[in-house]
Symmetry: D2
Subunit: 269 residues, 4 copies
């Protein structure tokens, strides 16, 4: 059913440039605000996460929101802010693209294109993103089985683009104490099935600030190649997802914990 089965070579590396390589010995830390809200906020967070040790900047310019009355992102203005943040920090940028028509604009800025959970089944977008040749950061659909997640990745691989990273970000279950249920067993399971590097997003996966650091450490230990974390200077004022964002201080402490843990397993941050 799959064409791109795992061979003996282990995990393939995906090199984003600027020193950011997925699938190597170094755990990639992707951090930044859920949404690019304004220039000053974004530049401050970018500087803080760079300082703390992140190797990639995240931030949404085009936001997929459940409600049409929620903030939908700054669009081109947001992309320009992300580009400026990259210049200032040297961090490559991953940002979400919502439809094929936006690919040209987003690709002009992004170092890596994110396909979000709500679009994992959007085969048209997967193919179009694949054909740009840009690295693709593919999030698991919130109710996608592992098999379906792998097949979504095949839509990208089929275009000839092998620069893809798959990201576990929590699945929808009956549990209401957390926003989603982070399925960490997906990490070793995917590692058995594919050579694609695997990332984890504990911010969306739990929806709770206090659960992000322990889940990030657990993800690193069971084989994740990257961790994506939302960081916000003032989570209580965030336009989106404040409940699951770390402050820069929390993020800094989390990186220290990750350094400690990864050292024990022969990796670095």
């Amino acid at each position: 059913m799959m064409k791109f089965e795992k061979d003996d070579a282990g995990t393939r590396t995906v090199d984003i440039g600027r020193g950011c390589v997925f699938g190597g010995p170094r755990l990639v830390i992707i951090a930044g605000p859920c949404t690019v809200e304004d220039r000053v906020q974004t530049l401050e967070i970018a500087a803080a996460v760079k300082e703390a040790g992140a190797s990639m900047l995240r931030g949404g310019a085009y936001k997929p929101r459940t409600s049409p009355y929620a903030f939908q992102g700054l669009h081109e203005e947001g992309l320009a802010i992300l580009a400026e943040a990259r210049e200032q920090t040297g961090l490559p940028v991953v940002t979400e693209v919502l439809e094929s028509a936006d690919l040209t604009k987003v690709s002009a800025v992004a170092d890596m294109l994110q396909i979000g959970s709500r679009n994992m089944h959007n085969s048209v977008l997967l193919q179009a993103a694949g054909r740009t040749g840009k690295p693709v950061f593919l999030k698991r659909g919130m109710s996608a089985r592992i098999e379906e997640f792998l097949l979504a990745a095949e839509y990208v691989l089929e275009t000839g683009n092998k620069n893809i990273v798959m990201c576990e970000r929590g699945i929808r279950t009956f549990e209401t104490a957390t926003r989603f249920t982070l399925d960490l067993s997906a990490i070793p399971l995917l590692k058995q099935r594919t050579w694609i590097p695997i990332a984890v997003d504990p911010s969306h996966g739990t929806g709770m600030t206090s659960l992000v650091p322990p889940m990030a450490c657990a993800a690193a230990v069971c084989g994740a190649d990257a961790v994506m974390v939302e960081v916000h200077g003032h989570p209580d004022k965030a336009l989106c997802d404040g409940d699951q964002s770390e402050t820069p201080e929390m993020f800094y402490r989390m990186i220290k914990e990750l350094q400690n843990i990864t050292r024990a397993i022969g990796r670095t941050v």
Copy 2:
């Protein structure tokens, strides 16, 4: 949170033309193949479902498939076949659109635009479809809560397009005996919250040919305005979803049952 709350006027009617009206006393029966596979197959099924009493033809020209190696539909050729089937039978056509870029082509043929389960959270597509002014047939995301389903509808309503029908099509649960779990309680629940007509798709909702007729009858009794059913002349040879398709004979008997049941509750088929 919702702008378009239910008022006292009950369900709003959505008039598709050619005698097909959602939300009135008559239960709308939408039937046809999962996928438009070829001209002869489609015209035969269209004639059969018209003869049996359907009031709308369904058929996929653009198919969202989990695997890139599955049949993806005939695209423009499929649309042309659907147009011919409409001319021969007089049945209006509903067919799925997968992205904004296809809206012009699909709208030129479709009497109603289907947004599938995998695109329920695709706000860009919802808005673009809404702006065409065409009636929209919005399926529930397979892991969408009722609240999220209503908010997806608001993306269409916000464009000024009130011609929308919402369709329950099964949700993803732990049960493996059926393809999805058809949530019929969503029908009376949605009826309490919105004036939008409600449809049910027991073919996808159960994934089993034998469960479609009883679930269609149950849906009619608890308030559905429409039932969408897959019909195929030779389900065992279908390129897609054969396990959940009715033969024309089964479909004919199902219509008889529906006529009997709806008569008891003061409605017709």
Copy 3:
């Protein structure tokens, strides 16, 4: 895997006595309070549901509660009240048993022993209840697959006791608008697999008073042999499950709807 597979004889009848037969042409209506709260309340509800057309009385004397601080039932005193209600109304009584040690006491009063959702996997209790020879009313576990539900029934059948009814009562899903998701497709699916009569509990299955009548009608139409409904004189003062209880007036109207619907399909209430 199953020893007691369906044969050609269709559904087997389970005769409780006092005119209450599951699996025949008449839809069995089981009604009463969630919990036996006091003597007067129970006798009043019993009289009301008898008057409206119920053929069996339900009421909990031993209650399985999620919290140790919630009302746990009147135990022996509750059983005595149920016995008195039976004498006054002539309705046979079904009531829950929580563990083997209580079987003697509960069997002395109950015409039918209920094994609740939380005990569906309690094989010790299933076997012990089966060996009493009393008819068993087995509810589906809230996360039990159809296969597991059938195997739980086999624990009873293995004891030689064939007087069993299986009851769909809602499964646990991600949906939060309803208490559980009532899986009506389980009815025709179970009918294909077993000769055991099938009941549905829309009160627990939805958790909402307003959804009970439409779901009861839908259940009847897709093949249910029985419907179990919670009725309370003052739902707002109920010690348990008030949000999902019908008043006697609502229950009376629901019975009228069920009579109308079942007439159309050649059955009675």
Copy 4:
């Protein structure tokens, strides 16, 4: 809603004797066969897990099985074998009790009473087990929310028995690649809510031999006080759960990994 809220004192220790203490700096490793199949098998596994570094022996004498046709355990004979294994190895024993009537027999042998996932809602059993004064090992119901899990623990605490450990063992979701979805976020979440030590069972939680070691390491890193693992000399011949059992060699390597990881976070195995 909870009476036994967390105070400032952090996690309470539960001392089982023979050097096994839950909630202290040392990660407790519980290991052994799913089921006590025979004397030689059990003594061999017990010796092997002791040698590798386990601090408690697990093994089922009374097995809750989905099917009445599956092996149900050796009962008293199994308890006697467990007692002999304890004498030979010095490891304390945890074993499951299925109903109150068995408590005297099981308590006579067990150092700790396991309440299994299928009985988490069995309040009668929880209270009876609590009243024995024996330490209780309470597994999360496969569809229990965190709130419900905590309330089940309160049934034990209410009896005055504070010697309880709660165990995450996987929840039922739509994913079919694993047997259950192991919810590791439950560990830090429970730690915020209760002073009860928390264990994790990656064998049942994943159902796959190869996923047990990485999930055990991840659990240790995010705060678990104990890990419960199934070990079998010949998993392919196991009467129960062979697909999720480690061989003694795998178990030995897993312990080495756990020692390495826990050292980094200031704990021991």
